[in-house]
């Protein structure tokens, strides 16, 4: 058990800012912080569960047949997450729309299965997937938070900017997602450089 397995996904190999994986949900659902949080948690659940299962059965899986098998396992957890959201958080599920079922094709998940869980022991795979999930969730909350503050003047639905603030509608539109993500990746790299030097 290594703590590095957990922290890898948080910063050094952050799925959004460093690996730049899973861009479809990252850009599409982050119009509000709460959507980023929900999408992040759903993805974390799927990546953790599928990594654990794949790590358990890794020695029984014939090498040539592994990709379809991983996909079936991932799709099962995604369907479970989708039904759970629809049953218990109907409004959020409606707002996220087709992006919950689309977690199946999120490269972060198949990437962890291929690169890590199919080769490493269960506990290490669990920590790795958890780190990646938390890193992904944090990135989506930051992105959704910035877009919500500038685009609607609120954060998690609470008004924090003064009344009469003109909402930057572009921030809620797709263009705002690209602009914010680009700037965030830039800021991330600057901080990373500084940390490496010191």
């Amino acid at each position: 058990m290594k703590i590095a397995d957990l922290t890898r996904g948080l910063w050094r190999e952050n799925p959004v800012f460093v690996q730049v994986l899973g861009m479809c949900p990252t850009l599409a659902v982050t119009t509000k912080a709460v959507f980023g949080l929900s999408m992040g948690l759903a993805t974390t659940f799927v990546v953790v569960s599928s990594s654990v299962v794949i790590s358990i059965i890794r020695k029984l899986v014939p090498n040539q047949g592994r990709i379809p098998m991983f996909t079936v396992i991932i799709a099962t957890f995604v369907t479970a997450a989708d039904y759970f959201l629809k049953a218990n958080f109907y409004q959020i599920s409606k707002a996220l729309g087709p992006y919950v079922p689309l977690i199946v094709v999120n490269c972060v998940i198949l990437g962890r299965a291929e690169a890590f869980a199919s080769k490493k022991a269960v506990i290490r795979s669990f920590l790795d997937a958890l780190g990646m999930g938390i890193g992904f969730t944090c990135a989506l909350i930051v992105l959704g938070g910035i877009r919500e503050i500038l685009g609607a003047g609120t954060i998690f639905g609470y008004r924090i900017l003064w009344e009469g603030f003109t909402n930057w509608i572009v921030m809620i539109l797709p263009a705002g997602a690209f602009i914010t993500l680009g700037l965030l990746v830039g800021v991330f790299n600057v901080i990373d450089e500084k940390m490496k030097k010191s």
């Binding site: 119009t31 509000k32 059965i57 029984l60 899986v61 014939p62 040539q64 047949g65 379809p68 098998m69 079936v72 396992i73 799709a75 099962t76 369907t79 479970a80 039904y83 759970f84 629809k86 049953a87 218990n88 109907y90 409606k94 729309g97 685009g151 609607a152 909402n167 509608i169 809620i172 539109l173």
Partner: protein
Amino acid sequence: MVGRIIKAVINNTVIRMLTALSIVGAVAGASLVFVYNYATPKIEVNVEGGTEKAIKTIFPDVGKIKQTGEKDVYKIENSQGEIEGYAFLAEGNGYQGTIKLIIGVDPKIDKMMGMEVLESQETPGLGAEISSAHFRDQFIDLPVTKKIEYVKNQKLEKDNQIEAITGATISSKAVVRIINNRIEELRQQGLGS
């Protein structure tokens, strides 16, 4: 000889792959049955609850919501048992995807009692404003003996007009069109006469 054949079959990659994939598929399918059984009743409640909530917003003094012969058309009675009007589902294309509305009218279908958005995929911040109170309130007590019209960035001149949302004319137009079409359709079926 037989032993060797069995061994060859077990070691055959294709057969191993198919077996493993079948097992994984069967286990996955079986576990999803449990998830489905757990979630489906709850999801149905959520969907129906949305319609009921919308009707209660349009008709605050609702006593009974009665099904009519027509699907998704409800007769609304107030707490004294008098007919308040009708509520019905209407849907059509918006700017992105389908818009689903609940529309309330008075018993003679002379004017609207209100409108609620059940489902829409309109642009957040622009088209999604069709769900805002500012836009919806325009439909309360709006006469519908003539077709509803919309105006852009100018004063309302006739009483059957509403003001389109700035920057979301297509969504506003879609709502007006969906309401007009549905009311027309129900009138032809003899509702309210």
